[in-house]
């Protein structure tokens, strides 16, 4: 089973700051997904990246898939308290299942 490592595991910043979360693996994934999970709820899919080098933007969130399709990053510009949550990356392993990273718990302080 391929492994995904996310960093940092915990991040607490002030409103208005920028941040980047990383998702790394030694293996290649056919695609990679980012989810956000809030307390008491299931993860919600934010984006899927498929092509090496691909960049996708979702308002203030920018997602990038590494050229070799082994890593990805999530950059948030001007973070807001509503961005608080657990951010999970998940790689598609073969054609069968998602492999999740352990998550980055993000807290944005007003």
């Amino acid at each position: 089973t391929q492994l995904l490592e996310q960093s940092p595991q915990f991040l607490s910043i002030q409103e208005g700051e920028n941040l980047t979360v990383y998702c790394n693996s030694s293996s290649v994934f056919s695609s990679l997904q980012w989810y956000r999970q809030e307390p008491g709820e299931g993860p919600v899919l934010l984006v899927t990246v498929v092509t090496g080098g691909e960049v996708k933007k979702l308002k203030r969130l920018t997602f990038q898939f590494g050229d070799a399709r082994k890593d990805s990053s999530l950059h948030i510009t001007a973070a807001q308290p509503g961005d608080t949550g657990l951010y999970l990356c998940a790689g598609v392993e073969g054609a069968q299942k998602l492999v999740f990273g352990q998550g980055t718990r993000l807290t944005i302080n007003p």
Binding site: G94, Q96, K97, F100
Partner: protein, 113 residues
């Protein structure tokens, strides 16, 4: 369109008992996935069902089992409950099989005492 639903929301059992968790996928979705999320940890893949068949299972003992019904809803059974089975159990569904975009339910919080 209704999302993935799970029942019950919370379940409290004692060690050694059995637990049954239920999941209804999004209409039109044929694949159902089960994950375990222990406190403070990421999601661990449990089981994947597609078209009524078990397609894959994660590294969990056989006392974790389940099934998928003809209407594509699914049930997860955990026998001989242990304290470390306490976790949030998440169900997800997708249209078609094989790691496509998965949509998650709110989960069932299982507490074993």
């Amino acid at each position: 369109e209704a999302g993935v639903t799970q029942s019950p929301t919370h379940l409290i059992k004692t060690r050694g008992q059995q637990a049954t968790l239920r999941c209804s996928p999004i209409s039109g979705h044929t694949s159902v996935y089960w994950y375990q999320q222990a406190l403070g940890l990421g999601l661990q893949f449990l089981l994947w069902y597609d078209e009524g068949e078990e397609r894959n299972r994660g590294n969990f003992p056989p006392r974790f089992s389940g099934r998928q019904f003809p209407n594509y809803s699914s049930e997860l059974n955990v026998n001989a409950l242990e304290l470390e089975d306490s976790a949030l159990y998440l169900c997800a569904s997708s249209f078609g099989s094989g790691g496509r975009e998965q949509y998650f339910g709110p989960g069932t919080r299982l507490t074993v005492t």
